[in-house]
Amino acid sequence: MALLTIQNLSLGYDSHTFLENLNFSVNAGEYLCIVGENGSGKTTLMKTLLQLQEPISGRILVGDGLKSNEIGYLPQQTVVQKDFPASVREIVLSGCQGRCGLRPFYNREEKQLAEDNMERMGIASLSGRCYRELSGGQQQRVLLARALCATRKVLLLDEPVSGLDPKVTAEMYDLISKLNQEGITIIMISHDISAAIRYASHVLHIGTNIFYGARDEYVKSDVGSFFLREQEGGDSK
């Protein structure tokens, strides 16, 4: 069974529906990229997958031994975080919070997990530094390490490269695909269609036309080729 199966999902705010009859599934080890124009409901879909928001109708089935709180999440940065006085270690460790339940303090195993994930993201040397003094790319690595503390299976990334310069963006994508090769399922929201095509195994395009399928099919499909041309045309201007 798939890790996540989405059946007939409709999304919207209040009584206004803007996305209907969404069907797709995510299997272990896949790299799904969710693309679409601004306002097409990408972030709402993400929030629904994380169960932060109720869908209007439809179901999200979780399978393959995945618990609904075992989904790691890399959110877009909030204003609050930009001047938050916290050390890198404190933030990464807070990713283990979901494991704690009512236990007030972190145990040795969780501290070790945080250390390992900082090592994995190449930020071990920064562990005592203040989060707000780091560069954008370093901050993303910190949040990624935190997300890895919360999951061993699935990562949801919301525009992971927004606001990063091209070099750091490329590093970030490499890091993400390295995690994917290590067996972590990736679900990424992006408006960077060229990256989606380069790295993803599957593409979900939402908007007026919905497409879901493997990357190669997407490139050949009407929706995909139109969207690709448009973006490339936009970039070359």
Partner: protein
């Protein structure tokens, strides 16, 4: 001067004031960091005005123990303010302003219409600025205050990691299985308790100072959440202690003197932060 101080300290009411003052300062500083970061700096002001309104109602109704009415009303307001959080139709600052001004006006109105005392403006002034109430505490009030302060401090330590996680990133906490809503509720209740306690010390108007100054001062100097929390607690206690001592020796109002000490501490921290290349960039 030491003789004078020694003489004052031999009076029980001075000792009570010092104990209560230091405990309240400790508690109010603990959650200050969270509130400042959540953009709720003014919640102290708002809730204390609600408490003022509740107090006015209590005195008009003639309740002997005002706390019975004041505490629940303040707790409910705190929950309404903090729980709605990010999804509210009326955002944090506007909601606080509304509740604060509304409760203040309502409280004064009630006091005016159903006045039972001959010195109305004196009553209002002492509720707002705290004036001398900290010097007139009874033994029972000191115990109540001490017990509540200890409870608040213990809750804070036990939930420290959860409060950090929820403050830093509410959505992430929710998505990974932390019950962020109930911790927000907990924060709201604790804040309300602290504010009702602190009203005895500095009065409604100056409570915000007790909540935000230590946190802001500490944030000039330190970089990790733990350091900032510890530093703000220490600063707050020192300022409350010196403030009370100075006010006793110089005969100044307690609340304003404490706040003046906080402002001075902030100035020192700001300069120190700048000099050491601190966090202000």
């Amino acid at each position: 001067m030491m003789d004078k101080l020694g003489m004052y300290l031999s009076y029980p009411f001075v000792r009570y004031a010092l104990i209560v003052g230091v405990l309240i300062a400790l508690c109010s500083s603990l959650l200050g960091v969270t509130l400042v970061l959540k953009r709720f700096s003014f919640i102290g002001d708002g809730l204390s005005h609600v408490a003022f309104g509740a107090m006015a109602i209590a005195s008009v109704v003639g309740l002997t123990n005002e706390m019975l009415l004041v505490l629940p009303i303040t707790v409910i307001s705190a929950i309404l303010l903090l729980r709605t959080g990010q999804n509210a139709k009326i955002k944090g600052d506007a909601a606080i302003a509304m509740i604060s001004v509304g409760a203040l006006a309502f409280g004064y109105l009630i006091m005016n219409i159903f006045s039972t005392s001959s010195n109305l403006s004196g009553d209002v002034c002492s509720t707002l600025f705290g004036s001398t109430s900290i010097l007139t505490l009874t033994r029972r009030e000191v115990w109540l205050c001490a017990v509540l302060s200890i409870v608040v401090a213990v809750i804070f330590v036990l939930f420290y990691n959860k409060i950090f996680a929820v403050t830093f990133d509410e959505n992430f906490s929710k998505a990974t299985g932390t019950n962020a809503d109930s911790y927000n509720l907990l924060i709201a209740i604790v804040i309300a308790v602290i504010i009702v306690l602190a009203m005895n010390l500095v009065g409604s108007l100056l409570i915000s100072a007790l909540v935000i100054f230590p946190a802001l001062s500490a944030m000039r100097l330190f970089r990790s959440f733990r350091q900032v929390t510890i530093c703000s607690a220490v600063l707050s206690v020192i300022c409350a202690f010196t403030g009370i001592i100075i006010s006793i020796l110089a005969g100044t109002p307690v609340g304003s003197t404490i706040v003046a000490a906080q402002v001075a501490a902030f100035a020192i921290c700001y300069v120190a932060g700048r000099l050491t290349g601190g966090v202000l960039k």
